[in-house]
Subunit: 157 residues, 2 copies
């Protein structure tokens, strides 16, 4: 199972230390390599995309992870930590603009130079869920994580 | 960028031909390999998970793809076709039950024996979007794709 880069992410965040957790309000540009440009046909019609990328600054992972949100260690698969057995990153982004093989997006949590792996259209009937329980995250200071209190987030049950 | 399997998907769908498009109502079992079991701590608290897997029956991809939903070819990145430059699959699934290293889930679109790559908790504030445009999909017979007419799907703008 060998991955290849289909493009590159240009982000204002150059280093992991300077990237705020859930720093997703900045505008990023996605450059899709010329040989894959044909695969972008009709992408302009979608307001939101799923971007898959390789967390190239990911370090050795642990099965138990401490996050910035509480002092308890959690299983890595119950966190969004970038240090994972497979360093796969995912963001749901808003597509602002397309210029040929470049996509201007908002909502991307990735560093400058991150290799792009895949783009899929975001389809709410299969990708958006309501009445959701969010386990340990619910017990943390949620507003620090998302900038909103849990009561302001209507999707949470 | 080399991936490793962290588990295996057990699905009632044994062959691609017999797997209905968007066949996601069946119950599947996810077996996480023993060496990664520790990473599942606290996963029980989440009602929904993002499952990443390798589309092992994926064939050679084309940049332009015909889908079952209309006669127009679309760019592969504007479709959810399994034949893609990187054969990455994603489903948002409901976690029904956990038994040690096995997860019983609903809403998974994968074949029996599919290699599991990653599990992340589903967090509506970053993963769920409303006011969404869905491009060419909107012009197709939507009810065939999702079993609901477009008007029944309140997330679509």
């Amino acid at each position: 199972m060998q991955l290849k880069s289909i493009g590159i992410i240009h982000s204002p965040y150059k280093e992991r230390k300077k990237c705020p957790p859930q720093g997703r309000e900045e505008i990023c540009w996605i450059e899709v390599f010329e040989e894959y440009k044909g695969g972008l046909k009709d992408i302009d019609g979608f307001s939101h995309l799923l971007l898959f990328y390789w967390l190239h600054c990911s370090k050795n992972y642990s099965l138990l992870v401490k996050t910035p949100w509480d002092s308890e260690p959690h299983g890595v698969f119950a966190t969004r930590s970038p240090n994972r057995p497979n360093a796969l990153g995912l963001s749901v982004v808003e597509l602002i603009e397309r210029e040929e093989n470049k996509l201007k997006v908002k909502g991307l949590d990735a560093l400058e130079g991150t290799p792009l792996l895949d783009i899929k259209p975001y389809l709410p009937p299969i990708d958006s869920k309501t009445k959701v329980r969010i386990g340990w995250v619910e017990r943390t200071d949620f507003s620090k994580v998302y900038g909103k209190t849990i009561k302001e987030l209507k999707h949470i049950q």
